[in-house]
């Protein structure tokens, strides 16, 4: 990792204030962040286990990226809005998505999971880069409404190669849209290293669009919080778009279907494990005496309960009513859908009757 990154917490857990990104670090804030990382990690581990036993079709592990996600999500106000990919469990958690709702998607019972209005997050996008444009359009709407809101637009290093992300930057700049792009550079797009997507640090791209950018240590939850908050505030106040490159690492496989031993070196993993965002936060909390054993035990118990709740909700969850697949294709009645639904109902009735 180059030294030009913004870092408020050293890997040893020492806090170093930065003049451009002031942040008040209270014990309560630290405990909140600690709890969020522990709970996110527990959902992540449980979900992988549920996939392994066949309860989920797929899971996208987030291990290693919790720091940037949880920090950035805390920088959002409840009234702000976010657009994400599939690998943003930390953001989902902070915004109040119930992991059981989320796992419906990975179990294959529903395409819809949370209610976007309730958590202020658009439904996530698997088609890489697509939602960067939606973020900008949403931000243009905020601008036209004169609302005191901003948009956080999250995507990966791989996504920065897509035309949609490029066009999103063009539109954001052209209209001075209140949007902060947050790239989680986790070094890999499945098996393709970030060096195939870019020769220069991704953050430097923004300058070409006239968008200010910052490179942050993505394993530093405080840097993610401090920097994202300043840039969202700026966007809300009419300062326009900004771009954050969070330098981090995907320590798990791309998904539970992936086999990273085919393309990457285990030594890389050890290096990044030594920069773990939770360890770093823990070290800092120990230094400042914000990590008492009672609190640790309480969070662990909460995580255990969460794990149990997930297992219970997902294991053996009934398949949905087959006719449910015809719901919501259109907002208004549609002849073909209605006819196909009726034909399927008739067919199912004959199958059941036989």
């Amino acid at each position: 990792m180059t030294e030009d990154v913004i870092r408020l917490l050293t890997p040893e857990g020492e806090f170093r204030a930065h003049p451009d990104y002031p942040i008040e670090v209270s014990p309560d804030l630290l405990r909140q962040l600690y709890r969020d990382i522990i709970l996110t990690r527990r959902t992540d581990i449980e979900s992988t286990a549920l996939q392994r036993t066949g309860e989920l079709g797929l899971w996208c592990p987030v291990l290693g990226q919790e720091g940037v996600q949880i920090g950035a999500a805390h920088a959002m106000r409840p009234s702000d809005y976010g657009f994400t990919t599939y690998r943003e469990l930390g953001i989902f958690h902070v915004r109040g998505v119930d992991p059981v709702e989320l796992l419906h998607l990975y179990r294959g019972t529903s395409h819809a999971s949370w209610d976007p209005r309730r958590v202020g997050l658009g439904i996530f996008t698997i088609v890489i880069g697509s939602h960067a444009l939606h973020s900008v359009g949403y931000a243009m709407g905020i601008q036209r409404d004169g609302a005191d809101e901003a948009v956080l637009s999250c995507f990966g290093d791989g996504a920065t190669s897509t035309g949609d992300v490029h066009e999103a930057m063009v539109f954001a700049a052209a209209f001075n849209a209140p949007v902060v792009f947050l790239v989680q550079n986790n070094q890999w797009a499945i098996s393709v290293p970030v060096t195939r997507q870019t020769r220069a640090p991704l953050a430097t791209r923004a300058a070409g669009y006239g968008i200010p950018s910052v490179r942050i240590d993505g394993n530093d939850v405080l840097a993610a919080l401090g920097v994202t908050r300043v840039l969202l505030d700026r966007a809300r106040e009419g300062g326009g778009p900004a771009f954050i490159e969070a330098v981090t690492y995907r320590r798990g496989p791309h998904t539970t279907s992936d086999d990273p031993t085919r393309y990457r070196d285990e030594a890389e993993l050890d290096h990044w494990a030594s920069l773990d965002p939770l360890d770093r936060l823990r070290r800092h909390m120990e230094r400042v005496g914000a990590l008492d054993p009672a609190f640790v035990a309480e969070v662990d118990a909460e995580a255990d309960a969460l794990g149990e709740r997930l297992r219970e909700a997902i294991r053996g969850m009934a398949d949905p009513d087959p006719l449910g697949m015809f719901d919501h294709v259109y907002a208004e009645p549609h002849r073909q859908v209605t006819a196909d639904r009726a034909a399927m109902a008739d067919y199912l009735a004959t199958v059941e009757g036989s």
Partner: protein, 331 residues
């Protein structure tokens, strides 16, 4: 294939890999490009080992941009290369749709025949593997509807081995749809005989006197199984694999339906304006006085591909085909 020709049992993935390898050995201008096709060998391992053997210049791990993959391949083709592209999943071809429809399909025409566009765009397609959104779609009709593109889809490993090489040898752009749920099915593959046969034609796989089943790609196996089941009930079905969706060779279908008087077209894609509509229209026109029943279509409902816990109901299966056989034979 004579009985003396040695064959190898292969999955469709292995057969495609072997076919790509042979095409690359035979023509230094053949090169592969796509996401994750290098060290990973593609998410389905179709290109496994090819980068190691042919180098990074010929097996190119691309940046993450489908429009970029297809658009740069247009330039490579102009420069005399024969790019073979991998789109990772059906649902991710759309960023490249503009390049494919406006440029790839029309280039030969627009250049007055001076610049051919030899290019193969491989797309794993179809459902049945319990995947998440955008990983189970059947978009073949969009491409078959676009003049200038050829569209091929193999039904089994032996077909895949041969037709991928024929697609690469073609001077026209070929959209090559690989039925991903059949990737792990095995067949005997003849790697010895010279590649022969006309891929732009339908194949009659089974002859029966009562009903003609028409399918392609993943539904060919389903129809063969349905034909077996129907035979137990005394109904004899022909099964015809269209194989090429553009050009579309309906002569064998018409000839067969003139005998059976009954025709059922089966595909995973939505029935509405799918390939079955074209087949039904032409069969009805050309076999009008032979038909004993209306041409039936079995396929997807008019809904986006549903979450995978619905797919057993969404996808045509043997029972749905048998149900259609009951309908056409009841007339």
């Amino acid at each position: 294939m004579t009985s003396m020709t040695p064959t190898t049992s292969m999955t469709m993935v292995q057969a495609l890999n072997a076919g790509l390898r042979r095409a690359m050995e035979g023509d230094p201008k053949v090169l592969l490009m796509g996401e994750d096709i290098g060290p990973l060998g593609g998410v389905f391992r179709v290109t496994d080992g090819l980068q190691k053997d042919f180098g990074e210049d010929r097996v190119i791990d691309s940046p993450l941009a489908e429009s970029g993959i297809v658009g740069t391949a247009v330039g490579l083709a102009m420069r005399g290369y024969r790019p073979v592209l991998e789109i990772q999943f059906d649902g991710f071809v759309y960023p490249a749709f503009d390049q494919i429809v406006t440029m790839v399909a029309k280039h030969h025409y627009r250049s007055g025949g001076i610049t051919p566009m030899p290019m193969v765009i491989r797309i794993p397609y179809g459902g049945g593997i319990g995947a998440v959104e955008h990983h189970s779609e059947s978009p073949e009709a969009y491409f078959a509807h676009t003049p200038g593109l050829r569209v091929l889809t193999p039904a089994d490993a032996a077909e895949a081995y041969v037709t991928i090489q024929q697609a690469i040898a073609s001077d026209d752009p070929v959209i090559y749809f690989e039925p991903k749920r059949r990737y792990w099915d095995r067949a005997e593959v003849d790697e010895v005989s010279p590649i022969s046969g006309n891929p732009w034609s339908s194949r009659v796989l089974r002859r029966g006197s009562d009903v003609t089943l028409v399918a392609y790609g993943p539904m060919v196996r389903t129809c063969l199984e349905a034909a077996d089941a129907a035979a137990e009930d005394g109904v004899e079905c022909s099964v015809i694999d269209l194989r090429s969706l553009s050009p579309l060779d309906l002569d064998p279908v018409v000839a067969d339906v003139q005998g059976t008087g009954r025709c059922i077209v089966v595909h995973e894609a939505p029935v509405m304006l799918g390939m079955g509509a074209e087949v039904a229209a032409e069969v009805t026109r050309r076999c009008f006085f032979h038909l004993e029943a209306p041409v039936e279509r079995v396929g997807g409902a008019y809904i986006p591909y549903p979450p995978n816990r619905f797919e057993q109901h969404y996808l045509p299966d043997v029972d749905r085909v048998l149900d259609a056989i009951d309908r056409v034979t009841a007339v």
